[in-house]
């Protein structure tokens, strides 16, 4: 495969794939380098209800349709391609994976975010989960603890109940849950979910195959115990930018700083999607970012290398 491209896209989530569609349709050469498989965090979403054109769609199905669209434009996609070296402040950007080296006149960083692990050392890892689609069905008729009071925590709790889970104790460290009020009400109306705010897991001990879980009130420091068969963790995500540190300007949380046109601090380097500093991280906003980043990358390549405007 040719390793020189007009635009190299790092990350195959919806932002990266949208960017690839625009770049390919502009007749520039491009490739997507994806650490795992294309689709990003949406692959972990059981039901997407807010994507215009689909009233309801499985996240993995939606991402496959977008990937099909990208492939129909003959865009190269390298999956299981982990980037471990970047040279960005040179005219032809260099991107190295464990297997190959790529050069791009421009680069779009769209590496998204990864789930934050439970901040607790435990030997109960086999029963600590981050994907209810993957592992939820194992807990039919069982009791669970779900960690995280955001939309994911409540959405996934309802999904787990739909799989036949008997009961869920949902714990949230803050004094209120940040999930939408409607979904909180829907969850609590099931009477199978109890919510504990100002609460965190302090300790998990195995007891006859179950977890004896110590919950601590973060204000009073009082503790209580609850027995559960498994834990599902949905405490947010962190940006996948470790390999970019010192290469591109990041904020204190590790997100890439861009302007409104998705420019980073380095000419020819653009960023898009969940990985950039912004308030709203949705599939639709990631698509918007990917579109803008692609159009700006196209403009950059044409102005710099062809002397032509977009």
């Amino acid at each position: 495969m040719d390793s020189d491209f007009d635009v190299v896209i790092v990350g195959g989530g919806i932002a990266g794939m949208t960017a690839a569609i625009y770049v390919a349709r502009a007749n520039l050469t491009t490739i997507i380098l994806e650490k795992g498989v294309c689709g990003g965090l949406a692959n972990w979403t059981n039901t997407v209800d807010n994507f215009p054109s689909y009233q309801s769609v499985h996240g993995m199905d939606l991402m496959q349709k977008i990937k099909d669209h990208v492939e129909s434009l003959n865009v190269g996609i390298e999956e299981i391609a982990e980037v471990n070296h970047l040279e960005l402040d040179v005219p032809d950007k260099i991107i190295k994976t464990t297997e190959s080296t790529y050069r791009g006149k421009s680069i779009i960083l769209a590496t998204g975010r990864v789930p934050i692990p439970l901040p607790l050392e435990t030997d109960w890892q086999d029963h600590t989960h981050y994907c209810s689609i993957c592992d939820g069905s194992l807990y039919k008729g069982k009791d669970l603890v779900v960690v995280g009071g955001g939309n994911s925590g409540f959405d996934e709790s309802l999904y787990l109940l739909s799989l036949g889970v008997k009961s869920i104790v949902l714990v949230e460290e803050m004094d209120t849950c940040s999930a939408d009020q409607t979904i909180q009400e829907k969850a609590l109306a099931t009477r199978k979910i109890t919510c504990r705010t100002n609460t965190r897991i302090r300790e998990i001990c195995q007891q006859e195959g179950r977890g004896n879980i110590t919950l601590e009130n973060t204000k009073s420091r009082s503790t209580e115990r609850t027995m559960a068969d498994g834990i599902f963790v949905f405490i947010g995500q962190s940006p996948n930018t470790k390999f970019m540190e010192g290469r591109v300007k990041l904020d204190s949380f590790g997100y890439i700083i861009t302007d409104e046109f998705m420019h980073t601090d380095i000419p020819g380097v653009f960023a898009a999607g969940d990985v950039i500093v912004k308030r709203y991280r949705q599939l639709t906003t990631a698509m918007s970012d990917g579109t803008i980043a692609a159009l700006e990358a196209i403009r950059y390549v044409r102005e710099k290398y062809d002397g032509r405007d977009l």
Binding site: G36, V37, G39, N43, W44, H58, M60, E79, I80, E82, T98, Q125, D126, H127, H129, C131, I133, C134, D135, S137, L138, G230
Partner: protein
């Protein structure tokens, strides 16, 4: 799904693992991590076409999960000389996967 994967059932599991040194992957169709792992195995096969890879779809085989003490997917178990000699849950990259298999 990996092309070169022997899908095992309760009836075939023991015979296959008794007669083949292999990697057995416990997976589920809609599991995103399983999708990643299948792609990893595909890459491993490019380098090591001699590998025997088998799969257990956990949705239809709760008895095999229980018998193998599998509580999350994907879980990979290495069988050598009919015995389970190593196991790991979650994602590995191709290098880690091959080290995991050959060192087991």
């Amino acid at each position: 799904m990996l092309d070169k994967m022997n899908i095992l059932s309760t009836e075939t599991f023991k015979t296959y693992t008794d007669t083949n040194d292999c990697l057995v992957v416990f997976f589920k169709d809609l599991c995103p991590n399983c999708k990643v792992l299948m792609k990893v195995l595909e890459k491993c096969l490019v380098q090591h076409s001699e590998l025997n890879i088998a799969g257990v779809n956990t949705e239809g085989n709760p008895d095999l999960m229980e018998a193998s003490d599998v509580s999350k997917v994907p879980t990979v178990i290495v069988y050598k000389k009919g015995k389970p000699v190593a196991r790991k849950s979650g994602i590995m990259n191709p290098t880690e996967m091959m080290a995991f298999y050959f060192n087991a």
